[in-house]
Homo-oligomer: 231 residues x 2
């Protein structure tokens, strides 16, 4: 079934309307799925005009949201890698993504507004595709110190780190977990120490060295698995 974002409750407009009318040529009476305010609904189109489409809600659907909310603190890396991370981690169920300027980040944060808009579009598309209801927020880039402050608000901080770390062995009971992934060059020792002092826990993703964009997805998979969310 086709999925659309509502612009307001009961109303589809803009690009979504364009897609509904011109590409799919849907007519009143047809059933669609609607994403609105972080929820997912089964709905029936009642009006379709150039000005907007209206729908009536039939039922709320399962939003397929993990119980465990994972915030990915991603060491800033090159553009196409960030695109990949946003897309794949959204599919997999990430709650929010925070780019972090780290000691070994080569990439620059760039024009924040443009970037944020681009990532937000990628996340929205991925949400539509995978059938979940919450669009992860991709926040503007933070400095490492700011990110560390933000991480302290999480119930648990996990940091995949090459220099030894515990395997993902135990159940994760916390519902608000932060994951810190280094940029291309990895996490600098002083950054790792700061995270450990802040109560973070070093974990391992196995003995092979993963690219930064692979590490986030793998760590997210293992976190949601250990939280019992992949059932």
């Amino acid at each position: 079934m086709h999925r659309f974002y509502a612009e307001a409750e009961g109303r589809i407009a803009g690009e979504e309307l364009n897609h509904l009318m011109r590409v799919l040529r849907l007519a009143p009476g047809e059933e669609v799925e609607v994403l609105w305010a972080g929820r997912r609904y089964l709905a029936r189109l009642t009006v379709v005009t150039k000005e907007g489409a209206a729908y009536e809600t039939i039922a709320e659907l399962d939003g397929h949201e993990p119980r465990c909310r994972v915030t990915l603190y991603q060491g800033l890396c090159k553009g196409e890698k960030m695109d990949f991370i946003v897309q794949k981690c959204t599919e997999m169920g990430v709650c929010a993504i925070v780019p972090v300027m780290m000691a070994r980040s080569v990439a620059k944060p760039g024009k924040t507004e443009q970037k944020t808009e681009r990532y937000s579009r990628i996340a929205r598309e991925a949400v539509k595709q995978c059938g979940r209801s919450h669009v992860p927020e991709v926040r503007p880039a933070l400095s490492f110190a700011e990110a560390l402050e933000d991480m302290r608000r999480r119930q648990r901080i996990l940091m995949p780190y090459e220099e030894g770390g515990a395997p993902f062995a135990q159940a994760i009971a916390e519902q608000d977990v932060g994951l810190l992934i280094g940029p291309e060059g990895g996490i600098a020792p002083q950054e790792a120490e700061a995270v450990l002092r802040a109560g973070g826990q070093a974990v391992t993703l196995g003995s092979r060295i993963l690219r930064t964009e692979t590490a986030g997805l793998v760590a997210l998979t293992l976190t949601l698995h250990c939280a019992g969310d992949l059932t």
Copy 2:
């Protein structure tokens, strides 16, 4: 430390030599890592000339190979997705990749030799990058019937399937596991039934719908985790 593939025991030549001499300008006496015959060595360069470089082996290094050998049977999908799958699954520790022409495959197998050479190059690069020693074989595409025969040789077959499947909950004791991932359109019901009849097991990767190139990496991660290989 820089890593090179040997062309023969004790000898580095071709593109690898070019990289060693012209890009990195390494000289005799310098230590390098050498990948040869599926093993990884610490070595010292003894001769560097345009005709070839010679080295003496100092010690064998850990090859970082998982104990559990996972063969990924990947429903044939579009080119850039296959590139991604080969790269990411090699990093993560896949043993072999078999493209499979499935009922819902949109992509065509293409010129087998060219494809195989391309995938092999991607896999070799990924092996160098991640520090493992075995280059996964990317085999020529098989029909679904051929792939099913091949799967029967595995000790266990896992098939992520949307229509209900068991979570990755128990330890995987087998050392030779096959993973079947559908193409963009998913696994057709008659294919799923054939796999179940062949002794395969349906598993779930969570309730969100993953793109085909994401599903393979996520399933490989969970398989190696349950096999105790991510420690």
